[in-house]
């Protein structure tokens, strides 16, 4: 999206309810800044993230998608993030294989105590995606209309 001639990326952040969503709340509690381009969607666990959701976001014009979950070993549901880790690794690798900028997707493990990490991660991710510019390779033109 262009705002006053400046590119502002659209970022969708999927956060697991137990660690990362709480980590994002903590970032807010501590008044840690990160760009408003990041919009968070709450999911119960990182393993709830279907690759279809990521592709859907890109189709609809997102410029970057990030998944945050509990650190491996700390999953509220004991094993969810282990499956998410494999799924995302393979999906990202596939996107890369198709020539889509690999920096547009990311997974970070953020615990409920890591508000600072959450903010830092988002700052970094937004910066990376801003540098990449608008997502053209993945979007569905029809959705633009």
């Amino acid at each position: 999206m262009q705002v006053n001639g400046e590119f502002k990326p659209k970022i969708v952040a999927f956060c697991c309810n137990w660690c990362s969503y709480a980590g994002a709340d903590l970032a807010g509690n501590n008044r840690l800044n990160y760009p408003a381009e990041v919009k968070i969607i709450r999911i119960p666990c990182s393993c709830r993230l279907n690759p279809m959701f990521i592709l859907r976001a890109f189709q609809r014009g997102a410029d970057g998608v990030i998944l945050c979950g509990c650190h491996p070993g700390d999953c509220h549901y004991t094993t969810g993030n282990y499956y998410a880790r494999r799924r995302m690794t393979l999906l990202f690798s596939m996107l890369d294989y198709l020539g889509i900028e690999r920096e547009r997707t990311r997974v970070e493990w953020v615990s409920a105590a890591e508000g600072a990490k959450f903010a830092a991660t988002m700052n970094d991710f937004v910066q990376t995606v801003t540098k990449l510019g608008e997502n053209r390779r993945l979007e569905d033109l029809r959705c633009k209309k």
Binding site: M52, T89, L91, M94, G99, R106
Partner: protein
């Protein structure tokens, strides 16, 4: 070849099975389609086993094994992997299937034969290392290897994983078949080159769904892309990301379940090398989570429903391999 047909007749006559799943000629002699035979006469008339029996029969057993009576199925090594994978997923009623393993010398592709300059082919037969073609202009010979379809040139295995009886000899898998060479080549390209390559390939997709319909792993009761309630149904192709979305999701849904039988690429009317997507997943899972061959056995957990505590992080994608940025 006669041996296979004879076996089909024998199985029906003995009453061991009530139906036989095999191949019959379509419009052209090289255009064979899977068919179910219920009488000896039908078999005598139409049953064919030739170097064009590429069609993987295992998928048809999902429906066929649920019908009354027993069915005999002729499974080539490729088909047997798909068969075991479907068994593993509880899709086939094992008791109702009599599996006859048939060895395969690699299946031919009429386009490959034409590419050798042989035109007007009306029939073929294998004689050792050569394929003798009867043509409108007399007999012509081509090396058998040159007539092979693309997927058979890098055949992963001549092993028939599961069978009730076997015609010919069982073979071995070939870890050095080089089936990932093309994937590696793509990986070594820059992102821009890869994007251009896939854009070129996938933009030809007409969403005919042939790849999905032939794929033994794509045998869902209802496909997500046909599902209106899910909001993912989308059939019309536009000049957009839609084809890629379809093919990524399709490849992801069969990841860890795809046996690499290559049917998707065989049936694609637009000649899109779809198997390269599936092979990427297979190559990745092999490299990251250990060797895994779908359909090789009934027990091993597929990589996507398994994990270890020290699996690599998704960020491995940013750093892995020599692929250019």
């Amino acid at each position: 070849m006669q041996e296979v047909k004879q076996k089909a007749i024998e199985l029906l006559q003995s009453g061991k099975v009530q139906r036989v799943l095999g191949w019959k000629t379509g419009e052209f002699f090289y255009d064979l389609t899977p068919a179910v035979f219920e009488t000896v006469e039908e078999i005598k008339k139409d049953f064919v086993f030739s170097p064009f029996c590429g069609a993987n029969l295992s998928k048809y057993l999902i429906a066929e094994s649920r019908k009354e009576g027993k069915i005999a199925a002729f499974l080539k090594p490729c088909d047997s992997y798909s068969f075991v994978q479907l068994l593993k997923e509880h899709r086939i009623v094992r008791e109702n299937v009599h599996v006859v393993g048939v060895q395969c010398n690699g299946m031919c592709d009429i386009e490959a034969i034409k590419a050798q300059g042989v035109k007007g082919v009306t029939a073929v037969r294998q004689e050792g290392e050569t394929l003798v073609c009867e043509t409108l202009y007399g007999e012509k010979s081509v090396p058998y290897a040159a007539a092979l379809s693309e997927r058979c040139k890098t055949c992963k295995s001549k092993k028939i994983v599961l069978f009730d009886e076997l015609l010919g000899e069982n073979g071995e898998d070939d870890p050095d078949c080089g089936r990932f060479d093309l994937v590696s080549k793509l990986e070594a390209m820059t992102a821009e080159e890869r994007f251009a390559f896939w854009q070129q390939e996938l933009s030809r997709c007409i969403r005919c769904n042939a790849c999905r319909n032939v794929c033994p792993a794509c045998s869902c009761e209802k496909c997500v892309f046909d599902n209106d309630t899910l909001g993912t149904a989308n059939k019309a192709a536009a000049n957009s990301f839609e084809e890629q979305n379809f093919h990524i999701i399709r490849a992801f849904h069969v990841a860890g379940r795809c046996t690499d039988c290559g049917e998707c690429s065989r049936v694609c009317p637009q000649h899109i090398p779809l198997h390269l997507l599936n092979r990427k997943f297979i190559k990745d899972t092999n490299e990251l989570y250990g060797e895994y061959q779908a359909g090789a056995d009934l027990e091993t957990r597929p990589p996507l429903v398994d994990f270890t505590q020290d699996d690599c992080e998704p960020s491995v994608v940013y750093t892995r391999g020599g692929n250019g940025k």
